[in-house]
């Protein structure tokens, strides 16, 4: 999608009150000297539905290690996309960038018709400030490989803390929502338990409920069954299949479970060294991969 060049001159003076986050402006070193112009709006977003996602020449490096190099890809509203590829190929980094756990070193990430990594200011895009990130994060939820439940709170409070503090729900509303979600993940009887009293699979189901309690429109799943004992994997995967079936969330999923990927996704992206080497519907990728890299990877994963 070509960027529109709005007829604005680059501002001569810097903005009067640059947010504190601008200080490490090295976060966008790829920027041309005259600044980035506002590109065309992102993928159309159905009213109140899930937004699409667009990565536009996104660069991310850690030190000298370039993890993503000018990565472009789009996810349609409500689409379920699975990212596969060898470790270190940048899949998890993509989810972490979307959750704003990392900042881009170049390029722009769009969620719906709004930039996530940047915010508009005086006709240009500047690196996003904390307030902008807070606003944008409301649409996005994430489930982590290590669950990351709060061990100092019981299950109920894990689920109500953010809805009360962030969304401003009343305690009763939040408890009601928590009960409904715990019912859905099959852990209604664990409402007063502490995370340390739960199995890994139960903790991950609570973590999924906790993410959904914020009513995100985009759900990011980062190797959510990798830390589980084999016999607990199925329960979590079944739950996620149900969620995928019954919701209209946009989902991005990083996983090494190819059967799960096949069930859950509309499209699979195969990554290698920060680039997409192949993409397509799961049936085609898994049964007739076109690229040698994909064949090698699938062979290695399925052999294990």
């Amino acid at each position: 999608m070509p960027p529109i060049d709005p007829p604005v001159d680059p501002p001569v003076d810097p903005p009067a009150d640059p947010p504190a986050d601008l200080a490490p402006s090295a976060s966008v070193p790829e920027e041309s000297p005259e600044g980035r112009r506002l590109p065309a709006p992102g993928p159309a977003r159905p009213a109140d539905g899930a937004p699409g996602i667009r990565f536009e020449k996104v660069v991310k490096r850690f030190g000298r290690n370039v993890v993503l190099r000018e990565l472009d890809f789009t996810v349609a509203p409500g689409e379920r996309v699975t990212l596969i590829g060898p470790s270190g190929s940048g899949k998890t980094t993509i989810l972490r960038l979307l959750m704003t756990l990392e900042r881009v070193d170049g390029g722009v990430i769009w969620v719906g018709d709004r930039p996530l990594s940047h915010m508009p200011r005086g006709g240009r895009l500047v690196p996003a400030g904390e307030r902008h990130l807070h606003e944008m994060r409301k649409q996005i939820g994430m489930v982590f490989q290590q669950f990351n439940l709060f061990p100092n709170m019981n299950v109920l409070r894990n689920l109500t803390e953010a809805p009360v503090r962030v969304l401003g729900l009343s305690r009763d509303e939040a408890v009601e929502r928590a009960r409904r979600l715990l019912d859905m993940v099959g852990l209604a009887d664990k409402i007063d338990a502490h995370p340390s009293q739960l199995s890994g699979g139960q903790q991950q189901r609570v973590a999924i409920a906790r993410a959904l309690a914020m009513e995100p429109k985009v759900l990011l799943l980062d190797e959510v069954t990798s830390a589980l004992d084999p016999e607990l994997v199925v329960g979590v995967q079944d739950l996620l299949r149900d969620i995928a079936r019954d919701s209209d969330l946009t989902m991005l999923c990083v996983t090494h479970e190819m059967n799960f990927a096949r069930d859950i996704s509309d499209r699979v992206l195969m990554f290698d060294r920060g680039r997409i080497v192949e993409e397509g519907p799961p049936e085609r990728i898994f049964e007739a991969p076109a690229e040698q890299r994909t064949r090698d990877f699938l062979h290695a994963v399925l052999a294990s």
């Binding site: 959750m99 807070h134 982590f144 100092n152 993410a211 914020m214």
Partner: protein, 217 residues
């Protein structure tokens, strides 16, 4: 020299008065150390380099100079700059300030010990920074540091006789005065030792209870 129980009985009320002052100074000083240490820790984590470097050097300076010198400074030097403090007040501030540099280090380690994933979960749930600190990070950090903090309480209690040097009438001072009157030091100084043991042992029992309570969620 034989132990004189009658004499011991006579001086005991004065010594218990002294003990009361010692315990009071320790408790108040400890509260200051707990709060101020946390303030140092949080200031050291502010994004402003100027602030966190300044705090770093102040803390390093206080930790590296003797408590006795600091007590003298607060009690004898500050008045010449127009800030006159009572002996007990100066003592409490001295103890609290000095030990805040230790608790600061303890908190820092406790916070660093909270797994990164906890922060990431806070971001993913969009919790504001202040909430994340207050409801997630600090409660977990404090739990990890209860044992070390408890040890500093007892260490501080044992340092409190230094307040004698700025004329606080704490336990050791009371014993010293009693001895000076009668020229018998055996009983007063021995009782001081016994009282210190009793309070220290009681405190460590309390600390161990707290540890056990905080060890499980």
């Amino acid at each position: 020299m034989t132990w004189d129980w009658n004499y011991t009985g006579e001086i005991l009320p004065d010594l218990l008065d002294g003990l009361r002052v010692t315990v009071l100074a320790t408790v108040l000083g400890y509260l200051i150390a707990l709060v101020l240490g946390l303030v140092w820790t949080l200031l050291r984590r502010t994004p402003s380099r100027a602030v966190n470097q300044a705090v770093r050097w102040v803390v390093e300076f206080i930790r590296s100079t003797p408590l006795l010198v600091q007590l003298f400074f607060i009690f004898y030097v500050l008045p010449s700059w127009g800030l006159t403090l009572g002996a007990l007040t100066a003592g409490v501030i001295g103890l609290g300030l000095h030990y805040s540099t230790y608790t600061c280090e303890v908190y820092r380690a406790g916070i660093a010990d909270v797994p990164r994933g906890q922060w990431e979960a806070c971001v993913a749930l969009n919790l504001p920074r202040r909430r994340a600190w207050q409801d997630v990070i600090l409660p977990q950090a404090v739990r990890r540091v209860v044992p070390s903090l408890g040890n500093y309480l007892i260490a501080m209690f044992k340092d409190s006789p230094l307040l004698l040097a700025i004329s606080v009438s704490e336990l050791l001072g009371a014993a010293y005065r009693a001895g000076a009157e009668t020229l018998r030091y055996l009983e007063p100084i021995t009782v001081v030792g016994v009282l210190f043991v009793i309070v220290s042992v009681l405190s460590s029992i309390v600390v161990r209870r707290l540890e056990r309570r905080y060890a499980t969620y």
